[in-house]
Symmetry: C2
């Protein structure tokens, strides 16, 4: 964070600005995260510490905090629940990396490579259980309902994605269903529990769920575009992962819909049959550019962002709402 270097400046990154607005809240959440990764079983805090050191922007717990404070609740209640949301996310990352046979995450060797698939599966299970223990400690059955439902939907989305992998017949409806489940469900839940904690009522709860859902959709589409367009050193993830794994995402699906026979043969060979040469990623990028697949994908993301913005505008006006609007804009900006 640049804010650590120049304390008087406004942080450049919208998530850092949001975090700064929330005062010491994220420090408290990080404390809960660290305390709850403790275990007598040494491998658990070791693997957990590795994940923490790998960083990540903690966007989901930030959303929970912001959506609680937005409705004027300034209690410590969201700390445990924000940590719970981050634990669910971390557990799914650990299991995803095993499922995808990933070798890198956030610019570092992924946990499954360093600690093995076995430890990644089991520590994922541990973090998932801890998430529910934190919710139980909070005691809201409504929050438990929201987050247990989101967890089930996430795993359905992951299974759906697995079934769609290497299938060049995947269409935008399939894709939207997958990202709604695997990504937007947890964004929606992270935001929805804010007004629940604050006791802000059903309208606020629905508005923040809508905000989170649409933000999550925009975020994931932008992420899937970045997988082809990003500056690798800036993205902190391996460019071309989706291509190499044969994961059909928005840009490819859009380009496939108007593909020539030759292009269709290219996508079938590289993504369905996974027979790839070193030159294929660059060729894929060229085809996607030629079909305006990135700008058309971005337009879809912008459509979701507009809906998210509409939902956000029903929340009380102020610095926090403005900061959330900036995070929303950034979720797409980063994909340019």
């Amino acid at each position: 964070m640049t804010s650590a270097v120049k304390m008087t400046d406004t942080p450049a990154h919208p998530l850092d600005r949001l975090s700064a607005l929330l005062g010491g809240d994220m420090v408290q959440v990080n404390g809960v995260i660290l305390r709850n990764m403790e275990s007598d079983v040494a491998l658990i805090p070791q693997l957990a510490a590795y994940l923490i050191a790998a960083g990540g922007k903690r966007i989901r717990p930030l959303l929970t905090l912001a959506c609680t404070r937005l409705y004027n609740d300034h209690s410590p209640r969201p700390y445990g629940l924000a940590a719970s949301v981050e634990f669910i996310h971390t557990a799914t990352l650990l299991h995803d990396d095993v499922v995808d046979e990933s070798v890198e995450r956030r610019g570092k060797a992924s946990a499954n490579v360093v600690f093995g698939n076995q430890a990644s599966v089991l520590v994922g299970d541990f973090l998932f259980s801890r998430a529910f223990q934190l919710m139980v400690a909070d005691g809201s059955l409504e929050v438990l309902r929201i987050l247990s439902t989101a967890s089930a939907v996430i795993s359905e989305g992951e299974v759906l994605q697995l079934a769609a992998a290497n299938n060049v017949a995947t269409n935008m409806d399939d894709y939207n269903a997958i990202i709604a489940a695997k990504t937007a469900a947890l964004f929606a839940a992270a935001c929805e529990i804010g007004p629940v904690i604050a006791g802000a009522g059903g309208d606020a709860q629905r508005a923040m769920r809508d905000f989170g859902h649409h933000l999550g959709m925009a975020f994931q589409i932008a992420d899937d575009i970045l997988d082809y367009t990003a500056d690798q050193s800036r993205l902190g993830k391996t460019v071309g992962d989706d291509f190499r794994e044969g994961k059909l995402t928005a840009p490819v699906i859009l380009a496939l819909a108007e593909a020539s026979d030759e292009e269709r043969a290219f996508w079938t060979r590289t993504m369905a049959e996974r027979r790839q040469t070193e030159a294929d990623l660059a060729a894929a990028q060229a085809i996607l550019t030629q079909h305006d697949a990135f700008s058309r994908g971005l337009a879809l993301a912008r459509g979701y962002a507009e809906k998210a913005q509409q939902a956000l505008m029903t929340a009380p006006a102020g610095d926090l709402r403005d900061a959330l609007a900036d995070v929303l804009a950034f979720s797409i900006d980063r994909a340019y």
Copy 2:
């Protein structure tokens, strides 16, 4: 079940007798299980149906039902929670088989072999989430506390077991800690929630937790002996799994404590270095027999069973308590 063939006879298997005593309760639980394995994502019910067809005695949900009825609660409440307990168990089985690289479970190819490791990890996550949704639908925060804690402890136990694998320095304290976490914790929780549902008070809750814990310890030790001694067609699992995986269990740990240099070299080669020949399992069985490792292991299991029996005797007398005592006795008998 033989009871399906001859309805008038008393079922021979203690778990079938317990099930018969509970009337239609297990039919209800099986209905909840089937309904909650449904998903629009086809692979989930497919994999789930495969697991159901593979059978299993459903001992954990039976314990939840029995420990509720034992305290005179005859409501439908335990159905969802018994299903929840079975889902947690099934999720850990799915993940275990991935972690252990198992090829067989209950006499059938294991799910990871048929559907792949990826689907097993993700469907395990789905069932785990469903378990929490079922608890939330019930609405008892105390039950949620008990089962979320048990889940966290189970994954700690699995990580502990992973760390101890192939380590011939594993002692009985390590082993007891592992099986207390990976097995006895869920038995204890399955039993403890019975009196919680029935509102039977703290003494009953503690007694059933103790009963479940000690039953689970006895059950796991017996299971670990059976892994060397069972008639493969009867056990419905591959004999020698623990040996091949280098999993240090009670009989081996007991034999290692008094091993000759030659025997120690044998265990080091076969279990630590996992260099095994076809004749090694028979050699291991011979060494274990020579050191009375099976009968000494059984004596330990009997010690736990006695403590379980003491806890059980504090519960109201009757057919149900007698049937639970039979299940307890059987948990060891099957290891002869």
